[in-house]
Symmetry: C2
Subunit: 398 residues, 2 copies
């Protein structure tokens, strides 16, 4: 039986960085960039007008307040030049700064009448409202390092840099398997001793939150059939996630089947609640995660162990986040207590309110939680206001 | 010119709850539930065995330590009954508790030899390791109210409840339009005075983070063409998002075109930086958002205004989150300063470190930010450690 820390260290030890894939720009959101992105031009690529107004020579500010408008420099036009330094050109945001000018005065600070722009005041400076060529990055500069998560702002950089194909870390091919002869499809009316399948959909959704599309299947509590099916799945998928059949029950065949198939079991049993029977194994470059079948155990182990594996695969540094326990708790067992909570932010502090529930089989109250605190095994009284590592159960969109 | 608060109040006033849509279960992740979900059975539906082990009659604990094993009650089997109260049945997690038993003792606390289970100790209680029928919810109870965001745990509830079709709030049909003749497609090599389109991809990605698939198009800086195109788009889409052409430039035709098309402009100009020229209008049940064309202005206004509109559409209560400014800042203009920051969690506190940048046209440094703090207009010195409302620029997956 491993401690949570030992189990997580094993996961990290057996994980490795995923391979690289080249995908179209349109599909790259929420993927991990696998190559550095470099500026193909200066940013901005030219002295860029940053306000709508007029462009002048700043040294004229000492001499005059009236400027004849020579013409317009619109965005998207080739660069023009001011012919007479006494004059001005109207300029639009995003346009190239005209030649022979070095100061942009916005419309709010001038009046234009009969082709002449009059300044309201002369308190302007050289280079004002000009977004200078190369000030943000120079051609050849690294804009984004490999290992950048592609969020909307990063997509903007990729677009501006002209990356129609993007090198990202390859997504693992994952199959989610339910076991348990009590399970029937969603569309069925269960008999009194049956329940509908739900863990696989929860796991599939949790993977989709991480931008991974995974398939699901159901395997019977029958050892020969399990063995045949899993052998085939190990050939086709990088990672198999199982819900159920890893504990001490008479039909919990998975550990035995894994052994027979040459899957090395590195973890089977963790000093934690819920999720004690958690299993992790490898067969060459293939990975199996056996989550105990209760819904909370399945979801907690997914986030505590599979997500840790995925972070290594993607190259995401694992940093702990902490939440403030918002209620006194007593827990006397010498195991890590993954406590379901509902979080809220109060004055910039992350509060975690425990969710009352009837145990790891209680899927009704699991749905009310958005995270779990991991309360350490060597402590039994946990006070309101103390901080503990927190893991979120789903993405936060808003 | 509106204050940020006035502008946000106007958005809220003109928004309303979206209509309802019935979609297949498989597509319902990260949508807003539009109907209450009720238990079609008790949860759990039967007295459910919660540990692998044996089931006995608890009153026997006073009398004996040895129990003859009568048989096995597996998960997925019809309920059996203990024939002789002196005996036991082996039971598996997830099985129906056998008739004539009221106590489950796990394998860890017994030894089974030659068909007889021997308890290690007699310290067991009635109903232990039994997940009682109906303890989490009774048939007919509301499991989830309308207005629940469908995250993985909620999908578990929907699956268990047999909801193959789910009523959700309809997603608005959205078109994202770029304007600006300086823009060229990503795959092009821009001329010296051109840049590649990027804001529309940023907005499309930001919408996808909110689980909305939107289309993009580009419109020329040409008033008659703009008018024809927008008229058509208003017929087809619920919401139009524009990037650019809303400021004071000579080719900023959008406000005029909107007026000519009968779009009522409720906001045009907000006392904020960036995003001063922001525009919001309605035409009947249609909505237009005009975001200023600089990348930071576009993204900040999307999150400050469009996301607020979407929250009303979905029925999400708008609650402020606060972050701790992590650096002293001086900002003297009497406008709200949407300050780009990079957040981190330290000891359960949300810290916000300002991102140095060269202004709202700086897409290079925008990509380093993950949020913005909104510093109020009536303050000019902002101290490290003070808290201010924070808005995230992208979803947090991990």
């Amino acid at each position: 039986m491993k401690s949570v820390k030992e189990a997580q260290d094993i996961i990290i030890k057996f994980s490795k960085k995923g391979e690289t894939d080249s995908i179209p720009f349109k599909d790259c959101l929420n993927r991990m960039l696998a190559e550095g992105v470099f500026a193909d031009r200066d940013a901005p690529p030219f002295d860029r007008v940053a306000m709508d107004g007029i462009a002048i020579q700043s040294e004229q500010l000492l001499k005059r307040q009236h400027f004849i408008v020579e013409g317009i420099q619109a965005a998207g036009q080739e660069q023009k030049s001011l012919k007479n330094p006494d004059n001005c050109l109207e300029v639009m945001t995003g346009a190239v700064l005209p030649g022979n000018t070095d100061c942009v005065i916005p419309y709010e600070k001038i009046t234009i009448k009969e082709g002449i722009a009059t300044l309201h005041a002369n308190d302007h400076r050289q280079f004002q409202n000009i977004h200078k060529k190369g000030v943000d990055a120079e051609k050849g500069d690294q804009l984004l390092p490999a290992g950048t998560w592609i969020h909307p702002g990063v997509k903007g950089v990729l677009a501006t840099s002209g990356l129609t194909q993007v090198k990202v870390v390859k997504s693992p091919k994952i199959m989610i398997c339910s076991t348990g002869d009590e399970l029937v499809p969603i569309e069925d009316k269960p008999l009194p001793h049956q329940i509908r399948r739900s863990n696989v959909y929860m796991l599939q959704a949790a993977l989709k939150d991480l931008n991974i599309e995974a398939e699901t299947t159901h395997l019977p509590d029958d050892k020969p059939k399990l063995k045949t099916a899993i052998k085939e799945l190990l050939g086709e998928y990088d990672v198999l996630l199982f819900s159920g059949a890893v504990s001490k029950g008479k039909y919990d065949f998975l550990p035995l089947v894994f052994q027979e198939l040459g899957v090395k079991i590195h973890i089977h049993g963790v000093k934690q609640k819920p999720g004690k029977p958690f299993l992790f194994g490898t067969q060459g470059e293939k990975f199996v995660f056996g989550f105990p079948g209760n819904p909370t155990s399945t979801l907690v182990c997914f986030h505590a162990y599979f997500k840790l594996w995925l972070k290594q695969h993607l190259g995401i540094k694992d940093t702990l986040t902490f939440g403030h326990l918002d209620k006194d708790i007593v827990f006397n067992k010498p195991v890590t207590n993954h406590l379901l909570v509902k979080t809220s932010m109060e004055k910039g502090k992350l509060l975690a309110q425990p969710i009352a529930n009837s145990g790891s089989g209680d899927w009704v109250h699991l749905a009310l939680a958005d995270a779990f605190l991991s309360l350490p095994s060597d402590q039994s009284e946990f006070k309101k206001g103390e901080i503990f590592p927190i893991t979120f159960l789903h993405r936060n969109s808003f």
